[in-house]
Each structure stands twice: as structure tokens, then as C-alpha cells.
Subunit: 235 residues, 4 copies
């Protein structure tokens, strides 16, 4: 290559990976990908870089919202990132003790939401938090959910919080730093060994390779056991 | 009083203070108030409890937004609390290096905003943050500001972030804890001395008393020098 | 049992587990254990509750030490917890970009330490951090290491920091909260199923059971791959 | 000047200021100083840059130590920075609810310390924290204090924590950022107006100038009212 560049190590998500693959196909250019996105929505790795950091950021923010929710006896719908997958919502929902968690993978239905909130109120809790993934399957925005609950369950003073881009920034957690080092070392070693078109991932805590073409086709599945835990915790 | 309560020390804002005054008038009940609100909008004290903590919370969040703004070359309108006063917006705007700060006390006008943003873009900055108080005098919400800029200054990819209630929670800063201790001691001493209907405040770092009736009538004025500093920093 | 208690769920480390086992043997009392210690030194689980939180705490503190180390061109020996195992030291060392990491599992030797520090100085780095586990195999305290380096490598201005008990406190990370929920649910289910004398653990991200007698006999092994990564990163 | 430098704006403490003054005297070079040190030990300003940030850092760490102190019923001596002045110790001591605060400005005596600790124990508190400035007037290190208390008051399990350099780093608080902006603007304006040999400070929340020669001769006095508050809080 003109500039003396022999290979790329690309850190990003689906979009960047697709670009990398095209680049490889057209110019026969060596490329190794590292999954870096807070959504954790890449196939072939249980964790993407940034995911763990984002979980801590969101849990800290919800703790702050809980402070004010408790002192005013309120219900909050908190929208977190996750258009296609509910990894952030499910983890922070359990981590922050949410009363209900709405994710793209499951349609819990509005009936269940109302039941859950009634139960929470009855149990004497001083506040309620519902965590909602952007792409929640019920298909209502947090603003529509607010209206719906105010209409059908007027016992609550409802508020909305859309966390947005703050979820993407901040100093990385130790886990993300260590994972980045492990993936980075493996990526360079892959280049040395002449590999290409692979994504470095982590599975069962072992560093692995997945063809980029496969990585961009799927998502890491939501943890069924964690859904079960969240169901038990929110009942 | 039936329950053996001789006096109240009330921590709150305008609303609670008005209630306390009424209570005092009707029942001749001794009451001392301590200003606790993140908005810093009480007359007779340069700092309300929670204000300093909220500033740190907001600056941390804007730092995180800046991370993502920079990597995507974006403009963010960030709405912070402050319906009647711009204390939070002005301080976090300067603290987080905002390109422009919109507050209830001044109408900078949309023209100046566009000029400011053009200048920021020209200077080669990789991101722009505009901090907007809820009650900004221009009278447009952050969503309307986004639309306006996208129409009149299409060089920017614009995003919006409404920080909301997270600003009210969290573990207090050292300054707020020390101030709370100082005010609390003074409030108890006031009760011992038989005082009533007063608000404990801090002015020029000295603990003072202000009649509640005066405290609820005004706001601590925005710092003109800080507006000047922010004008210089954002030019 | 007199007080109507049918079973214990005990959260703790080796010591508490041994007590629980004795209790079970003597009184035939049902007990399920959950591993809660920041040292991550329990057999039968890849993560103990508190470990991830402690890693984040320590990395944040070392980042702050790095700020001052850089501006004064200094070498810091930072002692972290880990009397028998180097999990904390190894992870935070990689996470915070330490120049060298000294752990109980390996005797790197003082020669290698000096070589590493010389190399770091030559490479033009403005600061050096050496992370030392309490039980480091070289067998010298951070104070002795400071003296040794000052004598044998007088190019450095050396400082020492013993992090101590702050590592044990703080608000838990999202990972630790989720893990605690998963373990808690499993512990209760174990009781319902009539199980006893077991420790709930997590292995390859699946919740598992290990007899308490086995859990207290060993440690989770240090990750060899991570030692390799740290060797590469610090060279 | 050869390099086209017309003036310095110097950010630092006593040492740097003395250097700046010498430089000005010998080369007749224009210099304006800004007080930047966490110790808050410069005359002519109520706040030095970094002081407020350090207070928050230390309070957060003591909160973490309190977590473990409480669960084990322990007494901690926590050493914080402050060789000549007790500003950090006094503020964080009040902020973190310390049982006793030892500073360079006052010799409380060992007798009072023992009395204070006995009282704390009797009152049923589950933990005790004593904050000690480096230059505490009693003249004993935290290690000597530990020994003394263990000998004379064996009811406590005593631990020591020396916070050290972590106090100097980290992302600045909003207050420090705003103060830095205000001081920076004033420093540049001073240069434009042809001033020299001055330190920019803040007094009663107004930006002021003090001759450097005076600034380095004294310290900002410890707040007597805050000592009184701390006495009341710790009794």
C-alpha cells in the first residue's frame, strides 16, 4: 500500500466491520476486527469493548434517579441504549433493582407492566424504576409509556429519563481495559501469523476468532437465565 | 405540641419555606429553614445545599457526552435544570468548556448562537456543546433549538440530551457536606436562642440569617463576572 | 432451631466458610455459601462478589496516582490487596498500564524489575507504576522495594502507596450486582431443593455448585494468558 | 526574550512562586502567578486550584474506608495531606463525619483523643475514623497513634491508612474548573494591563490580586468557625 500500511486492526461495530470486509474483498487488504460497541450486539463474543463500562455508568445514573424517585414517591421510565438487543437494559435493570425491564427480545405486554407496577405499589415500595431498551418490543417510547400508565394507573406520579449519549463516554472499567489489552495482543499476533478477515472475541473467558462475515450476521443472544433471575427479582 | 415537638428545622426550597411560614403564622410554631435545592435559587445565601454536588454530577456527564461528541464531530444541546435561574447552566457551561450557554437571565438571541457555532466550527474544534437551562430566555426547548440549527446551519450533526432528575441525586460533595454541618449547627443554636422564622444561609463564606419572608421573595443573582468570563471563554 | 431459622445463606470468604461447615457438621444445619471477598481467592468460582468492584476502585486510584507521577517524572510502588493470590494486582496492573506487576504466584526477581524500569525510562515514559500484591513472591514490602531501587537505580525519584482498606468499600459495580442477584436466586433455590453444604459459584458464566469442603481447599488459579499479555504489554 | 516570550503565567505553590519572583527580579521578566496546590496553603486566596477536587477525592475514599470500618467495628487513623495547614483534614473530617480531627494548627492532646474515642465507643457507633493531617501538632505519625491507642484503649481494633499521592490527581471538580477559568481570564487581563509580580486569588468570591512576595509569606488561616463546628459534631 502506498503509505506503507500492511494491515488494519479495526475497532468498531457492525457498520465498521462490513466496511472492513468490503475493503478486504476489493483490495485484498489484511484486516482484523475488534468488537467495540456498548450495545454488546456482535456475534462471536460474549463482551464487546465498552459494554461493561456502559453498565456501570447507567447503574450509577439510575442510583441517582432512585434517590429522587424515593423522596417523591415516583415512577420513572428510564430509556437506555439497545435498539436491537436488550443486554444493557437487562443487566442494569437487575443491577439497579428495577421493577420491570422492557427489552427488544420479549414482548411482556402492557398488562403485565400494569400488574407489576400495582404489585410494587402495594408492597409499599417508595419508588419504582422501569428500565426500557430503545428497541423495546412493546413498541412504545418512554413518553408513550408514561401517558399509558398515567391513564390506566393514576396512582403514580410518572417521570421519564432518556439517558442518551452519556452512556457511550467515560473512563473505561478495569474489565474493559483488560479485555482491550487481551484482544489487542491477539489481534497483533493474528496479523503476524498471516490471518485476515477475523474478529477477535471472548467466549467463556477465552480469546477466540470468528470470521467477520459471521460476526456481522448475528447477535450475542440475551442470557435466558438472567431473564429468569430478573423475573424472580421483580415479582 | 401533642407529640412533644417544639420546633422544626426544615430543609427545602421556596415551596417548603412558604409552607413553613404559614405554619408558623397559624400555629405560632418555631421554625428555622435551611436552603436545600440544587437550583441555588434562594435569596439570602450564595449556596444552597445540593448545588455544588449537582454541578459536579452535570460536569461529569457532559465530559462523557463530550467523548462521543468529539469522536463523531457532533453538536449537542444539553438541557440542565434551572427554570428561573441559570446558576447550574452558567457554572457547568464554563466548567465543561461549552461553546455557548443559554440561561433565563439573558436573551443572547438565535443569531449570536449561530455565529458562535460557526466560529467554533471554523476554529477546527471536533465537537460543540451548548448548555441550555430549562428556562432559557430564548424560549425554545432543546428540541426546537436542534431543529433551528439543522435548518440554518446544516454543517452540524445535532443531538439533544435532557439530563433531568439524575441531577438531583448522588452522594454529596465535600463542600455540601461541610456546608450542611455548618448550617445545621447554626440552626440548632438559633432554636436554643429562641429565634424563629429565619433561614440559615452562607454569604461571603460566613453563616448568616435571613427572614424567611425575604428569602422566598428573591433569587441569588447570577454572577455578572462569571457571565463575562463565559463570554470570553466561548468567543 | 429455636428462633425458627431453618437454614443459612452465608456470604463470605474461607474463614466464614470453614465456620459454616463446622456449624453444619455439629448441628446438622443447612447452609449454602456465596463467595464474597475482593481477593477472588475461592476455588469453584471465577469471580467472587466484590472483586470486580475492587478492580474498578483500584484502577481509578492508580489513574490519579499516574496524574501526579507523570507531572513529576516519578516511580511509584503501589501495594494492592492479595496475600495469597495476585488476581487484583494482575488485572489492575494490566488495566492501569503498569510497568511491572509483582504477584504471589511468580518470582520475577529483582533483576528483571530493574531491567524493566531501565527500559521504561529509556523509552521516554514520563512515569512508572509498579503494582505489588501484598503477598508478592519476591518477599519484599513496597518500602523495601523503594529502598532497593533507589540504591540500585538512582535515576528514579521513588514513592510508595499502600492502598489498604479503601479497596474493600464503595458502591458495587453492575457486574457484581448482577452476579449477586444470580447467586442469591440460586442459593434460595438450592435451599428449596433441600441442598446443603454447597457454595454457589460462577464458571464460564454459568452458575454452579461446589462442595464447601472443596471451595475452601484451593484458589482460583491466576490466568496464565493474562500473565502472558502483561509480559507483552510491559516489555 | 529570545523565544518571543513576553511574560509568564505560572500555576503552582510557594516554591514555584519564589522561583517566579527571583526570575522577575533578575531578568525583569513579567510574571503573574495562579495558586495551584491541593493544600490550600497560600496567603491571599481562600481557595487554591485543586483544593476542592482533593476534598471530594478524600471524602469518597473515607466513605469507602467507613464501609469496611463499620462491618468490622474498627478504628481507622487516616492520614491526609497538609504538612503546615489543616485545611484538607478539617474539611474532610467534618465532611466524612470523623470522630476526631488532628491538624497542625492545634494540639488537641492525646488525652482528648482517648476521651473522644471512649465516648464514640460508648455511644454505640459501629466504627470510628480519625483524620490526621501529615503535620499534626501532636507530633505523632498515624502508626505511632495506632500503637498509642492500642496500648491505652485496647477496646479497639485499630487500622491505619495513608492516602498519599492519590489526593493530587483526578478530574477536577466543577468549582475548580470555574475558578481556574476566572483566574486565567484575570491573569491574562493583568498582563494586558502591564501588571507583574502579582498572584491572582479569590477572596469572598471576588477575584483579587496579591503581591507574590506577600502570598508566599503566609498561609490562609484555618476557619475558626469550622473548628467550632467540628468540635460540636465530634462531641
Amino acid at each position: 500500500m502506498a503509505e506503507g500500511i500492511d494491515a488494519f486492526v479495526l475497532i468498531g461495530g457492525d457498520g465498521s466491520f462490513t466496511g472492513a470486509m468490503t475493503y478486504n474483498e476489493e483490495f485484498n487488504f489484511t484486516v482484523i476486527c475488534i468488537p467495540g460497541t456498548i450495545d454488546n450486539d456482535i456475534f462471536g463474543t460474549s463482551n464487546t469493548l465498552g459494554f461493561d463500562t456502559a453498565l456501570n455508568t447507567v447503574v450509577e445514573v439510575i442510583d441517582k434517579i432512585r434517590d429522587t424517585a424515593s423522596s417523591h414517591n415516583r415512577l420513572f421510565f428510564v430509556e437506555v441504549m439497545g435498539r436491537d438487543v436488550g443486554h444493557i437494559a437487562l443487566n442494569v435493570g437487575v443491577g439497579a433493582g428495577a421493577e420491570e425491564i422492557l427489552i427488544p427480545e420479549e414482548n411482556l405486554g402492557l398488562e403485565r407492566l400494569l400488574e407489576s407496577l400495582k404489585r410494587s405499589k402495594k408492597s409499599g415500595k417508595s419508588s419504582s424504576i422501569v428500565v426500557v431498551a430503545e428497541g423495546d418490543k412493546i413498541g412504545k417510547s418512554v413518553f408513550e409509556l408514561k401517558e399509558y400508565v398515567e391513564e390506566h394507573l393514576p396512582i403514580y406520579d410518572v417521570r421519564v429519563s432518556v439517558l442518551g449519549h452519556m452512556q457511550r463516554g467515560g473512563s473505561p472499567s478495569c474489565y474493559d481495559r483488560v479485555l482491550a489489552s487481551r484482544m489487542g495482543v491477539k489481534a497483533v499476533e493474528a496479523l503476524i501469523e498471516g490471518k485476515t478477515n477475523l474478529m477477535v472475541g471472548v467466549q467463556n473467558n477465552v480469546i477466540t476468532f470468528t470470521p467477520i462475515s459471521k460476526a456481522i450476521k448475528g447477535h450475542t443472544k440475551i442470557d435466558k437465565e438472567l431473564i429468569r433471575v430478573s423475573d424472580i427479582m421483580t415479582t
